[in-house]
């Protein structure tokens, strides 16, 4: 009897199970179960002791594909950072993992049909799931984007959807001006399924990257249908659903443009491109964000906030937290920590002047950030602290730098 451990993924095997001889392809052993793809295409699970291997083939090591492709004279760079859009199924474990190769994703895209080919440069700049992104990754990504912009290329960034708005917002602040569009896109339904949204999202993002949009955008499905992609302002956009294709929604405003039926239409108010790209590539990482809830103790609050340069508080309604946290805020403020208030409501602005709680917080030094999204406030304070003198913090946080604040909320 052959040793199961010596059989490699993909090996053809013949084995005996309950007096029946079966054949198939060896997939692997996990959690004490041997998985074999039977001749009929189905995977079947067996206890290792219940099968007797009669014979198996050897498997040659697979040739690795060159992961990047440079295209001469390309007008666009597609930079992959990992995430679902750049994920493939690992058939050994059955898990979805970031892929080292994104060519297949673009092979079937319409701009590569009917004899024409998109000239684009593909590069893998990170290969991490978006929940593992850190501010240090944002800086690295920004620098790579800068290289492409300076080489005269617009940039499409493939990114996991979970923290896409954080990374895209970080780019929005760090780039004071853009010479070419920077468009983020991702995928809600994995690219290994024929129905994946990846294909149209990339198509839409590539199209948006050919516009005169001088703001960082997120291009994702507008609806559950595969017929329209919205170009949304990164600093006003939020992932509002865990699974739907149209999870990304601009909050309190419409998209800046739409891509549908092969045509791009830009109609929102946005900043156009500038002659050059300016990058402020510093971020202050001593910033935290805390979600207020009934019962949040001063001790827990302080352990999050103490020693930080800035704290974004996601308060209730108009921007409130319990009175018993006021003491902590006063004390930490004296030590130099900046407190900011955003709303858990997501929609609508905070206002300290309606109730006494708000007035007390404001008096204690909490800066109210209007209708700025909490995640955006977090990223923006890192940017402001990293690139400007400390005494300009409150002024800059309440000024509109990248259209992250809306003056008028429309019905």
């Amino acid at each position: 009897m052959s040793d199961l451990g010596s059989i490699k993924f993909g090996a053809a095997i013949r084995f005996r199970y309950r007096n029946t001889v079966l054949s198939g392809t060896f997939i692997g052993i996990e959690n004490g179960i041997v998985t074999i793809k039977l001749a009929n295409g189905y995977n079947a699970g067996f206890l290792p002791d219940s099968i007797e291997i009669l014979e198996h083939s050897e498997v040659k090591a697979e040739r690795k594909k060159e992961p990047t492709r440079k295209a001469e004279g390309a007008k666009i760079s597609i930079l992959s950072t990992g995430g679902t859009i750049a994920s493939r199924v690992d058939y050994t474990t059955g898990a979805v993992k970031p892929s080292e190769d994104i060519d297949w994703l673009l092979e079937s895209a319409p701009f590569n049909r009917n004899g024409s080919r998109l000239t684009a440069e593909f590069r893998i700049i990170e290969n991490i799931l978006s929940e593992n992104m850190k501010p240090s990754n944002w800086i690295a990504i920004a620098r790579k984007i800068k290289t492409d912009l300076d080489a005269g290329r617009s940039v499409v960034v493939l990114h996991g959807t979970d923290t896409m708005t954080y990374t895209a917002s970080a780019m929005a602040f760090m780039f004071r001006s853009l010479s070419h569009p920077v468009v983020f896109t991702g995928s809600q339904r994995s690219s290994d399924r024929p129905s994946s949204d990846s294909f149209l999202n990339v198509e839409g993002a590539v199209s948006v990257s050919s516009s005169n949009l001088g703001e960082v955008a997120i291009a994702m499905h507008s609806s559950p249908s595969d017929d329209c992609i919205s170009a949304m302002r990164a600093v006003r956009t939020r992932k509002m659903h865990s699974t739907r294709r149209d999870a990304f929604k601009p909050i309190e405003e419409g998209p800046m443009g739409k891509y549908s039926n092969g045509k791009l239409e830009m109609y929102g108010e946005y900043r156009p491109l500038s002659g050059e790209s300016t990058l402020d590539d510093r971020l202050e990482q001593s910033v935290t964000m805390t979600y207020f809830y009934p019962g949040l103790s001063a001790g827990d609050f302080e352990s999050m906030a103490s020693g930080k340069k800035a704290v974004v508080i996601m308060g209730t309604g108009l921007g409130h937290i319990a009175d018993d946290l006021l003491q902590s805020i006063r004390r930490l403020s004296r030590d130099g920590t900046e407190f900011m208030m955003t709303s858990q409501c997501i929609y609508g602005r905070v206002n300290p002047f309606i109730y006494s709680t708000g007035r007390n917080l404001s008096d204690a030094g909490v800066t109210y950030l209007g209708d700025m999204l909490s995640e955006v406030a977090y990223v923006k304070s890192m940017y402001v602290l990293g690139n400007f003198p400390a005494d300009r913090f409150r002024e800059l946080m309440t000024s509109n730098l990248r259209n992250e604040l809306l003056e008028r909320l429309k019905l």
């Binding site: 993909g10 199970y17 309950r18 029946t20 079966l22 392809t25 179960i33 998985t35 793809k37 039977l38 001749a39 009929n40 295409g41 189905y42 995977n43 079947a44 699970g45 067996f46 206890l47 219940s50 199924v89 058939y91 059955g94 898990a95 979805v96 297949w104 079937s108 339904r189 690219s191 290994d192 399924r193 024929p194 129905s195 994946s196 294909f199 149209l200 609806s223 559950p224 249908s225 595969d226 017929d227 699974t243 739907r244 294709r245």
Partner: protein
């Protein structure tokens, strides 16, 4: 194991289950459209082993968009906007019990797989399917037939419309559990195929979990007459199996003779077809099809079909049908060919002009079709591929069957590469002993099944037999539970339901019936009120939603009965006779009452009046 002259026959039986959907908590029934539609495209991916499937390539070539109608019984899972939930336990248990009953080897773990299907019938682009058993047998009067596998899979979305390159589906049926039982090609002939199909469906219906709808059982027949395996899909009536096999046998034979004649004429080398725009010949045509096509901005394309004169449609020859199938795959409605022209409103003169324009040789056929000039390449490729396949007598493919026209081309056969693991669902562990114990308890024959029903519900053997044969066991179980009266439930299923339908010329779905009965029960009203409520809905006087609030379903109180009886007695005449009294009460009041209470009240009133 093979029958006459190299014939091989195997079956794939699909039975829908009446449990909830397989990977979400939607009901299997209730396909009302909500008005929401979504449109989608599907992109081909490569299978687990890196090979792309030929059926998949074929679909990409067709380049279609799909529209889905959202139904009441569908959620984000059917719309492919959410990953699958855990598997429906009842459906899995049923599949395992069936596999065990068919003497299959049960596998230690159930793995859910994705089978690539990109014709749009699955929103995700794959059908979820799980192998639960392999290597079983079923006994028939002509020996055992081996069962190769028992699978539990999701049913596909129902196609509601095809419009050029856009296809519309309804999401209601998508995700309904389906047990698929496949046999080895051990079946001897068409009669034997019918017997085997009946025996297999019995095993599933015996679980009481088979769906009752007309299309709940669908058969695929795999046949080979020596020219490759042909999969005949979706035969809904067991009795059609016979005709379908016969039709395909005849097609195989006729193609064989046609191809040998074609070979003598052309050498059966590669066909190079040339399509050209012949619209100018049909400017004033009276042919409805052509006229409509031109008006819609299309062109009429014509081509010579080398060596095919008399083989397109005459005697048993039907090469025309094969070519029509080919052009249908690229969105055309069909073609008209020389063996049927003049015809379809095309005049002799038009045919003469066409002939002189195309100048076919004597042995050549020709054809015309409504299409766009821009589609010439795709049409030509489709036709040449079809001919290349047929002249080598490679007849392996997936075909459909329609009793009117016989079998027709659907798509190339799907290979086994089209499967890869469903990573969103964990491998499932289950208790094999429990499954085997349940399968032991299942009736072995229809007689045993009806005996068991008769015993359990206290109804006659004859009624139990009908209930089982009509697959109404699940309905009986539900109505018995709601009405706490299995005899009334039986009477309703076997008599009242039909009577209501005939009387009011209207049918209610089982879901509607159940919801009406439940609503009446929730008002603590009994059988009489249930019957009254059903009568009102069947008559169209109330809706299933409104009827339970109706005052007309509340039974008459004893005082009310007394008052009515007094009136009847006061009026006197034949209506006050004892034999007519029930009918008279019904005439006076539309509300339900218990007849025996009414008779007692009548007797005591009479007795008092007598004094």
């Amino acid at each position: 194991m093979t029958g006459e002259s190299g014939t091989k026959i195997g079956l794939e039986i699909h039975v829908q289950l009446n449990t909830g959907k397989l990977f979400c908590r939607c009901r299997s029934t209730g396909e009302t459209h909500t008005g929401t539609r979504i449109s989608r495209r599907l992109y081909a991916t490569t299978g687990e082993m890196g090979k792309s499937d030929s059926a998949v390539k074929f679909e990409t070539f067709r380049n279609r968009t799909f529209e889905y109608l959202v139904t009441e019984n569908s959620c984000l899972v059917e719309a492919d906007e959410e990953p699958p939930h855990h598997i429906d336990g009842e459906a899995l248990e049923t599949a395992l019990v069936v596999a065990s009953k068919l003497d299959c080897i049960l596998l230690e773990r159930v793995f859910v797989m994705r089978k690539l299907v990109i014709d749009g019938s699955n929103t995700s682009g794959f059908q979820r399917t799980a192998l639960v058993g392999i290597g079983g047998t079923i006994n028939t009067s002509r020996g055992p037939v081996r069962i190769s596998s028992v699978c539990l899979e999701e049913d596909s979305a129902r196609k509601t419309e095809t419009n050029g390159s856009s296809v519309q589906y309804s999401l209601g049926r998508l995700g309904v559990p389906l047990i698929e039982i496949s046999t080895e090609p051990d079946i001897k002939d068409e009669e034997h195929a019918v017997e085997t199909a009946r025996a297999i469906s019995f095993v599933v219906t015996a679980t009481g979990k088979a769906h009752r709808a007309a299309e709940a059982i669908r058969q695929d027949v795999n046949v080979s007459f020596g020219h490759g395996r042909i999969e005949l899909k979706g035969i809904s009536r067991i009795s059609d199996i016979k005709e379908c096999i016969r039709a395909e046998r005849e097609r195989n034979a006729a193609l064989g003779s046609a191809i040998s004649i074609l070979g003598e004429r052309t050498g059966n080398e590669t066909f190079n077809l040339t399509l050209r725009d012949v619209s100018e010949l049909f400017r004033d045509t009276q042919s409805r099809v052509l006229k409509k096509g031109l008006e819609a901005g299309n062109q009429i394309l014509g081509l010579v079909l080398p060596g095919m004169h008399g083989l397109l449609k005459s005697g048993d020859f039907r090469l025309g049908r094969e070519l029509a199938d080919a052009v249908k795959t690229v969105g055309l409605s069909g073609l008209m060919h020389s063996d049927e022209l003049p015809g379809y409103g095309v005049t002799e003169e038009e045919v003469r002009n066409l002939r002189s324009m195309l100048s076919p040789r004597k042995v050549d056929g020709f054809a015309i079709m409504v299409a766009r000039v821009t589609d010439i390449e795709r049409i030509r490729t489709a036709m040449e591929l079809r001919l290349a396949k047929i002249i080598t007598m490679d007849l392996a493919e997936t075909r459909g069957y329609n009793p009117e026209i016989g079998t027709f081309f659907l798509r190339p056969l799907a290979g086994s590469e089209r499967m890869y693991p469903e990573t969103d669902v964990e491998a499932i562990e289950y208790d094999q002993k429990h499954v085997c114990a349940l399968s032991e308890k299942l009736p072995r024959t229809p007689e045993e099944a009806s005996m068991e029903i008769s015993r359990k519900y206290g109804i006659s053997r004859q009624d139990a037999d009908t209930i089982f044969r009509e697959n109404s066991l699940a309905l009986l179980e539900r109505i018995s539970e709601i009405s706490s009266d299995s005899r009334w439930a039986t009477r309703f299923i076997l008599q009242l339901k039909g009577a209501f339908e005939t009387k009011h010329g209207k049918a209610l779905s089982e879901d509607e019936i159940i919801s009406i009965l439940e609503a009446v029960r929730n008002r603590n009203l009994g059988r009489e009120s249930m019957e009254k409520a059903l009568d009102l809905v069947y008559a169209g006087k109330e809706t299933p939603l409104s009827v339970s609030a109706s005052s007309s379903i509340v039974p008459l109180s004893s005082q009310e009965l007394d008052t009515i009886l007094r009136q009847i007695l006061d009026e006197g005449g034949p209506g006050s006779e004892k034999s007519r009294i029930i009918a008279s009460i019904r005439e006076k009041s539309g509300r339900p009452f218990d007849p025996s209470t009414a008779m007692k009240a009548y007797d005591s009133l009479k007795a008092r009046a007598g004094k």
